[in-house]
């Protein structure tokens, strides 16, 4: 850098240093200090801003949790339809097989009172509450051997 450029740089810096000097001189520093402290003391926006700063972070975490839980629920529902019905019917069958002969007869009689159409339905296709009376009777008879 030649001397002329250096001198020019120095002049530029000198003008830059003067820039704003008048505004700084006119500033009432003590009044400004008291005003700032007064605003900090009375203005409640500080807390709001802190909360506003924190909240998005928590919201993001909550949204992520919801997505993870939702994906888990969907995954479980996709898997279970092929597995659950046999388990349920096997459980129902197990409970019924534990009944005594008299108890089974009572169930059959109460079901007979309900009446209804007889349909051939597999126990694996529906739950016990969805069976008609005749379907339930047929099922119980098959379980009774």
């Amino acid at each position: 850098m030649n001397d002329d450029a250096t001198v020019h740089d120095a002049k530029l810096r000198e003008v830059a240093r003067r820039l704003g000097a008048r505004a700084a001189e006119r500033l009432d520093v003590e009044r400004t200090a008291q005003a700032v402290v007064g605003r900090l003391r009375t203005d409640p926006r500080a807390e709001v801003r802190v909360l506003g700063w924190i909240r998005p972070g928590w919201l993001r975490i909550a949204a992520l949790l919801v997505m993870v839980v939702g994906a888990g629920v969907v995954a479980v529902n996709v898997r279970i339809p092929g597995v659950m019905p046999p388990v349920q019917s096997a459980t129902a069958a197990g409970e019924l097989s534990e009944l005594s002969g008299d108890e089974l007869r009572e169930v059959l009689e109460s079901v007979a009172q309900l009446g209804g159409e007889q349909q051939a339905v597999s126990a694996q296709d529906v739950g016990l509450d969805e069976l008609s009376a005749s379907q339930l009777r047929a099922l119980l008879e098959s379980l009774g051997g």
Binding site: L19, G20, A23, T32, R49, V50
Partner: protein, 183 residues
């Protein structure tokens, strides 16, 4: 018996910040007293109207005190304050949509000294102020932090979240454009 070491009578900025965190209001007032004029010079240099400087200085300190929890001491408190001042000024300009620089009225001119010299100095300042307006915000802030506030590139880079090399490049681009403007 060796002479006792003199006690540090002037607390550091870090000590004042810690005291403010502990609820010490006078510490906050002392930080304002310590840095308000430098901040005012920076804001005026960056294009603030003189009539607005007081409000802008206050607003900058308010924002700074509210955000002190995020100040990690990556640069000096004063430098950090000036970067916040830059944001405050940008927001003020966005709101007001008015010209950044207006010619000084006669009542605002300094009447001390040689009137001719004063007029020349005023003209140079005005030209520089207008030239600064033509820079990018980053160039303008780097130039002011370096040329007006006398900070090192490393300090400027830490405050603005850039590298010292990039700060140096911004400064030289700013100087080049300002020189062309001042010719």
């Amino acid at each position: 018996m060796p002479p006792a070491e003199p006690l540090a009578a002037v607390p550091t900025d870090a000590a004042l910040i810690a005291a403010w965190h502990g609820g010490d209001e006078p510490a906050a007032a002392e930080l304002v007293r310590r840095h308000a004029r430098a901040l005012a010079r920076f804001l005026a240099g960056a294009g603030a109207l003189e009539a607005d400087v007081d409000d802008l200085v206050q607003e900058t300190f308010i924002r700074a005190f509210r955000a002190l929890g995020r100040f990690r001491g990556q640069c000096q408190f004063r430098t950090w304050l000036m970067t916040i001042g830059g944001n405050v000024l940008k927001d003020a300009h966005r709101r007001s949509r008015r010209a950044h620089v207006v010619p000084l009225g006669d009542d605002l001119r300094d009447t001390d000294g040689d009137p001719h010299e004063q007029a020349v100095a005023d003209e140079a300042e005005q030209r520089l102020a207008v030239g600064l307006e033509g820079l990018t915000r980053l160039q303008r802030e780097v130039f002011l932090l370096r040329a007006q506030q006398g900070l090192e590139y490393e300090e400027i880079a830490a405050a603005l979240g850039t590298t010292s090399g990039a700060a140096r490049v911004h400064y030289h681009h700013a100087v080049k454009r300002l020189k062309e403007h001042m010719k």
